[in-house]
């Protein structure tokens, strides 16, 4: 009886989130699709032809998985950070706070919204990539689980960012100054084996590197790092950030005075 009520509450939250980003699809779905299409045109057709193959794959095929994952990362994050910050800013998060829903249901509701947008954009970008190349599929299970785990992880990041954000500026600082550099330096465009030793070591401290390599392994079957390591890292980060997010929501940080 109670669990059914929570299920309905969860469905309501998810439906609301999906409606939100679908309603403003020109701002949410279209831009990443256009940006990645530009990458495909430039690196795939214009200059990509002149670049040497990496690990036996054409340059465009090598970078497509990373570009897909990058769009998943930024969209999962953006969805939760703007949705949760908006609900805090306009106070309609109170609709959920007064209702008999435990914090974990609210949290999972917002995260699912981020996952839904991350995976939708990821799927759209994958489809567009097929116009420029035809990507092999080495292991569907790895592709799907990495996409899912990555979108959960960055939805959590977006949530925590939104909890601490005091203004609209605060919800763009982390994506611009932390997320984007880590993603671009996370081995989307190159194999870290091509880097000088010192940069190679520094790169290994970037968690996004592991996700991108594992995701690429799902398509191409090649990776700079071990698959297990990637799963361990993403699961560890998810557990820690989930527990922390739940704590923030329970005490009402930034929500209740």
């Amino acid at each position: 009886m109670v669990s059914r009520a929570y299920w309905v509450a969860f469905k309501t939250l998810l439906r609301k989130e999906i409606r939100r980003f679908s309603r403003i699809w020109v701002q949410t779905i279209l831009p990443p699709v256009i940006t990645t299409a530009l990458y495909f045109i430039i690196f795939g057709n214009l200059i990509g032809r002149q670049l040497p193959a990496i690990e036996g794959y054409r340059y465009i095929d090598y970078i497509v998985p990373g570009l897909i994952l990058m769009s998943i990362i930024s969209n999962a994050y953006a969805n939760v950070v703007s949705s949760f910050y908006g609900s805090k800013f306009q106070h309609y998060v109170e609709e959920q706070l007064i209702a008999p829903i435990p914090s974990w249901v609210i949290l999972i509701g917002y995260l699912s919204g981020g996952v839904a947008r991350g995976l939708s954009v990821g799927a759209a970008v994958t489809l567009v990539s097929q116009v420029f190349t035809s990507l092999p599929l080495h292991n569907l299970w790895v592709v799907f689980s990495m996409a899912l785990l990555t979108s959960i992880l960055f939805s959590l990041g977006g949530f925590i960012n939104a909890v601490y954000a005091q203004s609209f500026d605060d919800i763009t600082i982390i994506p611009t100054f932390v997320l984007t550099p880590l993603t671009y330096l996370g081995g989307i465009f190159y194999s870290i084996d091509m880097l000088p030793e010192s940069w190679r070591c520094i790169s290994l401290g970037n968690p996004i590197l592991y996700l991108i390599n594992a995701f690429r392994y799902g398509f191409l079957g090649v990776s700079d790092i071990g698959l297990l390591q990637a799963y361990a890292i993403v699961l560890l980060f998810i557990s820690v950030l989930f527990a922390y997010s739940l704590y923030l929501l329970k005490v009402g940080r930034g929500l209740k005075s």
């Binding site: 009520a5 309501t12 439906r15 409606r19 609709e95 007064i98 209702a99 008999p100 009402g252 209740k256």
Partner: protein, 317 residues
Amino acid sequence: MSHAIDITQLTKTYAGGHRALCGIDLHVEEGDFFALLGPNGAGKSTTIGIIASLVNMDAGRVSIFGHDLVREPMAARRQIGLVPQEFNFNMFEPVEEIVINQAGYYGLEGSAVRARCEVLLRELGLWEKRREMARNLSGGMKRRLMIARALIHAPRLLILDEPTAGVDIELRRSMWQFLREVNRQGTTIVLTTHYLEEAELLCRNIAIIDQGRIAAHTSMKALLNRLNCETLVLDLMAPIDAPPHLVGVDCGVVQVDAHTLEVTVSRGQGLSGLFAALAAAGVEVLSMRNKSNRLEELFLSLVAQGRQAQRGVGEGE
């Protein structure tokens, strides 16, 4: 008799160090229509925020129909419908979606919810606007939207924080009628308002809160009985130079201008004596009205008494 709200020794100090509630006790019986009154910044919204789980309490106990807010938060929340002081819905969502989503948060969905939503939106005059984005509603419509949203899960307790602020007279009357009907059907209602005649008209019991303390907690009737004097404003037929000396009546007389007198009489004294004395003094009265709402006067005096008592305590410490 089970209490809809039981609050004991509730305190709240905000992060900035402002002491909003200094240990209040409040009891609202089931089925009551209860007014929480008090000047700006008294702590009304803070109290309501705590009841509705939107503000963390420091100390004290709150229970809703016997469900302790800390120990059984979900059961307590299920009983409450809240119409907050400030608009708190997504301005970019359609009216109907806002109400239906709220039902979803209470675990309710399906045709029964949609039917109830239709009834509420029709009764509150919002049915034609159901597909409209919330931000396109007028201020009064937005308030009614919040009432529909608060009632969608059929709560046993409806709390309204200044529901009629900025609502025109006609609409206010229809809102009163609506709330009376909701109360008649068994829902306990607590409202805050700055319109004292609204409280007088609707409510059976009241509490006055000031500076985070309860200054009065009583029935409306008992409160009105405590009104022991009223001030009458008399418009005079002919101008006078000085206030008349009235023989044989116990009242205060103040001259406002050449054509106006203010006379304060005590209750039960009867007015014929006053008029006889006025006639004897050669003053002819053209018309008469009450200076201000008697309730407002009482309200102000209660608040003033409370503050005086508090100052006394403070000096004693």
